[in-house]
């Protein structure tokens, strides 16, 4: 078997594995659902995530220890990850292959020549790492923007899968939605289509992970090189060179992605994978000039305070950014989130959404809850997001911690925000329409929404009695009443206020039904023992409203109320991130006691 065959099989294998992990990331215990599938494996293997979080948090979170294996193997063997494992790279290689199939050998050789612009990816790496290495609270992890594993993970989970599953409904029972997917598509398509220009465009020019591997593979024990012998300079080795590393001459070790095409294509069998240096010479270091290095470093160092000038970490914090339960406080969160989209993928109610550009660079593609999308706000008995977060930006909390039970009873439940009524839109508050959908759906016990009864006179509700007997009152109407309008059980009939003002509190009876000009009272109570209204007396039709209030101490910000509120568009009850337990400085109330 040829080594390139093994490499192709490996690429297919890992791509399939990656694709499978994307498919199964739905909660459930069937074989095609989450179960125990290690869906974060590619993200854990990604050393850029490990090194990035190590720089920002000065810790190496346990699952990221996998990245050490990748690093060690890269140190020994070279950029095997790029050529054999990376699913994004496999896509690029395949698209590049399709695009250039019909081209001549000379054209292909020309496409694969080394270009100085290949140094750009190192600058990108330097900028990202220095942003991460920024001291203390200001460090921010932005590797996720261009790191290929989170990028391809976002693209599949938040873009391709929802599109293709819409009609099949295999992965998810209902269509999934993701805000800002257009941007994810733009980035993904651009990267993929650029392969039509130059093969493996992203890998050669942009990929910071590839750059990282390029740096690490300097001391590779085994590397591609020329054996002793006479080279005819046919350049066939560069016909399918994936890394653009010039194997015919001084091979650039840091660009070689171990595709082994050169080894396979060389007519003279002069190319081998060997422990001795290439006979034609080699360049181990990336082509980063001192000037380029300094400029990138300065950019990275300048970028962080520039981003933070918005004061978003201070008083100007964005109250609409509601993070999933278990998230760390914002500065700590931004040190760990690699924007992989796993939490958004796994959330059973589809409420976690990728942040858009409007929130600034740091918020881009980080998880933000949007209670209008999805099936129900943050489900009470669910801790899935924290379980799949590869870097613990969302901690893997237990249900006890989330609900404030058991050993967490003293700490109380985790709050991700608080609900606020918009009394200008809420039906009982603004429109005299009974509604307690929010209170009914509030999942905590005791409920965080409570109501207070109030009676309002309906529009044109003061009527003159024509005749009253038993439970029927005929009224004089200028405009006919709508039959049945007051029959819902929410309407009451009261004796109109005497001129002295004030209405006796019990002086009302529920209306059972009405016609165009008469009202039938409910038989369950009869105020008219004393006071059957005489003709000419005035009665009031009142609507019984249960006006809802939020009990701010009990509200956990789950957003079910916002989701269920029937006032469509801009909901009449909305969650704001105030009072979230993860941030000590965003409290609404003083600590009790």
């Amino acid at each position: 078997m040829r080594i390139v065959t093994a490499r192709r099989i490996s690429q297919a294998f890992f791509f399939t594995l990656f694709f499978w992990f994307c498919i199964v990331s739905t909660i459930g215990d069937k074989i095609w659902q989450l179960r125990g599938w290690p869906v974060d494996l590619f993200l854990w293997l990604d050393p850029l995530a490990a090194i990035g979080t190590a720089l920002t948090t000065h810790t190496l979170y346990r699952p990221l220890l996998w990245a050490l294996a990748t690093i060690v193997l890269t140190i020994i063997f070279g950029r095997f990850f790029c050529g054999w494992l990376c699913p994004f790279g496999a896509i690029h290689q395949f698209v590049g292959y399709l695009a250039n199939r019909k081209k001549t050998t000379a054209q292909k050789i020309s496409l694969n020549k080394y270009r100085k612009a290949q140094v750009i990816k190192y600058f990108i790496l330097i900028v990202l790492l220095f942003m991460a290495a920024f001291p203390s609270i200001a460090a921010t992890l932005q590797t996720g923007l261009l790191d290929p594993i989170p990028l391809v993970s976002r693209s599949f989970n938040l873009l391709l899968l929802p599109i293709f599953d819409r009609s099949v409904n295999f992965v998810s029972v209902s269509a999934r939605f993701y805000e800002g997917a257009w941007l994810i598509m733009a980035v993904f398509l651009t990267a993929v289509l650029l392969n039509l220009v130059i093969p493996r465009f992203y890998c050669r020019f942009v990929c910071p992970l590839g750059a990282l591997f390029g740096v690490i593979s300097r001391f590779a024990v085994w590397r591609i090189g020329r054996k002793k012998g006479d080279c005819t300079d046919c350049r066939l080795c560069e016909k399918s060179c994936e890394g653009g590393c010039e194997p015919r001459g001084k091979i650039r070790i840091s660009e070689c992605v171990l595709c082994f095409n050169c080894l396979d294509d060389c007519r003279g069998d002069l190319v081998s994978y060997q422990t001795t240096a290439s006979n034609a010479g080699e360049i181990t270091n990336p082509d980063v000039s001192r000037r380029g290095f300094v400029i990138s470093l300065a950019s990275g160092v300048l970028a962080v305070p520039a981003i933070r000038l918005s004061n978003k970490m201070g008083a100007n914090w964005d109250h609409e950014v509601i993070r999933p339960p278990g998230s760390l406080a914002e500065p700590e969160f931004l040190k760990r989130c690699i924007k992989c989209g796993q939490c958004m993928r796994v959330c059973p109610t589809n409420v976690i959404q990728p942040g858009g550009l409007d929130g600034g660079l740091e918020n881009l593609w980080t998880p933000i809850l949007n209670n209008r999308i999805g099936s129900s706000g943050c489900q009470l008995n669910c801790t899935a997001c924290g379980q799949v977060c590869p870097t613990a930006a969302i901690r893997p909390i237990t249900l006890d911690e989330k609900l404030g039970r058991g050993s967490f009873a003293d700490a109380g439940p985790i709050k991700i925000g608080a609900a606020f009524f918009d009394r200008n839109r809420c039906l009982p508050w603004a429109m005299d329409k009974p509604c307690i959908v929010c209170e009914e759906n509030c999942p905590v016990s005791p409920k965080a929404i409570y109501t207070q009864e109030s009676f309002n006179t309906v529009r044109d509700g003061v009527l003159t009695v024509r005749k009253a007997a038993d439970n029927f009152i005929e009224v004089e109407v200028e405009q006919a009443l709508i039959p049945g309008k007051f029959a819902t059980g929410d309407y009451y009939c009261a004796l109109a206020r005497p001129s002295t003002g004030g209405l006796a509190p019990d002086n009302r009876v529920k209306i059972a039904a009405n016609t165009e000009s008469s009202i039938e009272l409910s038989a369950s109570r009869n105020i008219f023992e004393e006071d059957i209204p005489a003709p000419g007396a005035r009665i009031e039709i009142q609507v019984r409203l249960q006006k809802p209030y939020v009990d701010i101490e009990k509200c956990i910000g789950c957003g079910v109320c916002e989701h269920e509120c029937p006032v469509s568009g801009k909901k009449a009850i909305r969650i704001s991130a105030v009072g979230e337990t993860r941030s000590a400085d965003r409290k609404l109330l003083l600590e009790p006691g």
């Binding site: 948090t57 020994i76 500065p331 700590e332 613990a392």
Partner: protein, 331 residues
């Protein structure tokens, strides 16, 4: 000859590269191990923001660790006790800032013995200035309202009259700390501000019976450095006292046994709770001081489990006799 070079060159290169690869791998392994975090992040304080209280202790001198003075006048007794340990000049150097942490826990009149004696505090302040201190700070984080505690206990007035600066606790003076090897003091707010500015730390506490811990003496005095909802630690009172003694390393502690609160501590409430014992102890070893002090409460060291814990943690020794205490009687 050329051939030989040709063969050796690649081999040398290979070995050199392998060595460098090996070193890189080792470096990667060491860094991973150093940073390794098996449990993941905890909510709340990030490690960067944790502080550690400075170590205020001075090198020990044999035979000058603990002194016990019998006498009815506290002011004279404390001077003598410090003299026996080498004089305040051993503890306080010219130009230094001294922090004094007396027991100001309750808004209780001085005669009830629930707080440090104001006259004693004033005398220690005076001695510090006499030894050349640039500034003396007097502070505590009381259980009751700070302003009224400092006022009603008489300590604010006495300390200020002696020239000290009285500092009342406020939020900005608290920082988070984790005690290395501690079980309870983890990510806990500690009263830090005044102590971060000081060069030396002196603790002054009366000897009291304590309902929960058995006794309140020099080690329990540091409870005043805890912030947050610290009464939660009462559930494991002996561990927290031991951890306080590990966390705080004072220069000198003064244990006032002139009038000992024998029962109903720590608040007392009746003069009848007090018994005159006319003893004052100065010590650089808190465990030894407390071990001797408990005898004045008619207790044995084994009655106070926190003593054994602190002894085991290496904070000091319960066998105070082995330190050859200096004794004196004054009229």
């Amino acid at each position: 000859m050329n051939e030989q070079n040709n063969i050796e060159l690649p081999r040398r290169q290979f070995l050199s590269r392998s060595a460098k690869a090996g070193i890189s791998i080792a470096a990667a392994g060491v860094i991973s191990h150093a940073l390794y975090d098996p449990e993941g992040p905890t909510p709340g304080v990030s490690a960067e923001d944790l502080v550690t209280l400075p170590d205020f202790s001075i090198p020990p001198e044999e035979g000058r660790t603990i002194s016990i003075v019998i006498g009815s006048d506290r002011t004279k007794a404390v001077g003598r006790a410090i003299e026996l340990l080498g004089g305040l000049g051993r503890f306080v150097k010219k130009g230094q800032t001294i922090a004094i942490k007396p027991n100001v826990a309750f808004a209780s009149p001085p005669m009830l013995g629930a707080t440090a004696n104001p006259g004693l505090v004033a005398e220690v302040v005076r001695l510090c200035y006499a030894a050349g201190a640039k500034q003396v700070l007097v502070t505590d984080n009381p259980i009751n309202d700070p302003a009224s505690c400092f006022m009603l206990s008489g300590i604010a007035k006495a300390a200020t009259a002696a020239g000290a600066k009285v500092i009342l606790p406020k939020d900005s003076l608290f920082k988070y700390t984790t005690l290395a090897g501690g079980k309870l003091i983890r990510n806990w707010p500690v009263y830090f501000g005044p102590f971060s500015k000081a060069d030396r730390l002196i603790g002054i506490s009366p000897i009291k019976h304590h309902h929960r811990s058995g006794a309140s003496m020099t080690m329990k005095n540091w409870y005043g450095l805890l912030g947050g909802r610290r009464n939660v630690f009462h559930q494991d009172i002996n561990t927290i006292i031991a951890e306080l003694a590990m966390m705080v390393k004072p220069t000198l502690v003064i244990l006032d046994g002139a009038e000992v609160m024998m029962t109903n501590g720590p608040t007392g409430g009746s003069v009848s709770d007090l018994k005159r014992k006319n003893t004052l102890i100065a010590s650089t070893d808190m465990v030894a001081a407390d071990s001797f002090g408990c005898s004045l409460l008619d207790l044995k060291p084994y009655d106070l489990p926190y003593l054994a814990k602190a002894h085991q943690a290496g904070v000091g020794t319960t066998d105070y006799e082995s330190l050859k205490p200096k004794r004196a009687t004054i009229s």
